[in-house]
């Protein structure tokens, strides 16, 4: 059953890496946003707004 171990670790590693990276990005955004005193996106001064094509 060696294929099972490899297939599942392949899926697990992929999921883990993507989740870890996404978590890091979102957390970093939160920390920076708090430090800068910027409200959540959509409240007027969010960074996404300065370039409308990415916040749509």
């Amino acid at each position: 059953m060696t294929w099972a171990a490899n297939v599942f670790s392949g899926y697990a590693l992929t999921a883990a890496a993507v989740v870890a990276y996404a978590t890091w990005v979102v957390r970093r955004g939160r920390v920076l946003g708090r430090d800068l005193g910027i409200g959540p996106a959509g409240a007027g001064t969010d960074p996404g707004r300065s370039h409308p094509e990415t916040s749509q």
Binding site: G10, Y11, L13, A22, R30, L36, P40, S55
Partner: protein, 260 residues
């Protein structure tokens, strides 16, 4: 802080798509006639590299835009607009390159795991594998270059040049490695994708579906990363402002000296 209605919807769709993908890829799609169930690794391996290629193409395109928008000469309002656009494309390049590196890394790892099952070894000095590992390392270098503190305009231009060299170099690397291997190896060991083998319709659709899922998730992370890069710039500017205001409010060191 970097979320918006659009990204929340996108994120939710991505998550749902990933759940459906897991069912399709691990359960619904049939096992391969030759490889058996090991073929299921294809649904993470192939979409990873497709997304990575897409990201690197985006990095190169954005880098070209950065160089285009930072040509010297533009002044006044036009210069301000050009500067803003250059910063925008620089962030796009940075966010895309990070995603590309992550997905290339995942491609290498899942490829090794797949290779272990089908070829019996984790690694082959095959043209595609060697090129991929060089692609990975080159873009790691690109990210390392981006991290170094420097004046933002100079950093943007320098990284843009690096990204474009990486792209120009890619075909040379690929063909030289290809040639290097084919001269020393009778048969290519590609049992996976790319051959003439026909996969069944279900496998084909599952692969396309997985690719769409990966693209959605990459897009979601990429938008957030773009906004975080923007926040990092704002934080840098704020820190500088703060430093300046502290410096201004401090009693100047020169004045007492001159008074005395």
């Amino acid at each position: 802080m970097t979320g918006s209605v659009a990204t929340r919807v996108l994120g939710a769709i991505g998550l749902a798509a990933a759940a459906v993908m897991a069912i399709l890829a691990l359960w619904v799609s049939p096992a391969d006639a030759v490889q058996g169930d090991a073929v299921r690794l294809m649904y993470v391996h192939v979409p990873s590299i497709w997304v990575a290629y897409g990201s690197f193409v985006l990095t190169a395109f954005a880098s070209a835009r950065v160089l285009w928008r930072t040509r010297s000469g533009a002044g006044g309002t036009e210069g301000v607009i050009a500067d803003r656009q250059a910063r925008h494309w620089d962030r796009v390049a940075g966010a895309a390159a990070e995603l590309g590196v992550m997905f290339t890394g995942l491609t290498l790892v899942t490829g090794s795991l797949w290779g272990k099952v089908t070829w019996g070894t984790y690694w082959q000095w095959d043209a595609r594998l060697t090129t991929t590992v060089l692609l990975f390392v080159t873009h790691l270098g690109y990210l390392a270059l981006r991290r170094l503190p420097a004046e933002s305009r100079a950093r943007a231009r320098r990284s843009a040049v690096m990204a474009l060299i990486a792209v120009v170099n890619l075909p040379i690397v690929h063909y030289s490695v290809d040639w290097w291997r084919t001269l020393h190896q009778e048969a290519s060991l590609e049992i996976g994708i790319g051959g003439d083998r026909n996969y069944s319709g279900e496998m084909y659709w599952t692969l396309l579906y997985s690719w769409a899922t990966f693209t959605l998730i990459a897009l979601w992370i990429g938008i957030h990363r773009y906004r975080v890069l923007r926040l990092e710039e704002l934080a840098e500017e704020a820190a500088l402002e703060e430093l300046l205001s502290v410096r201004r409010s401090e009693p100047s060191h020169d004045e007492p000296v001159t008074e005395r």
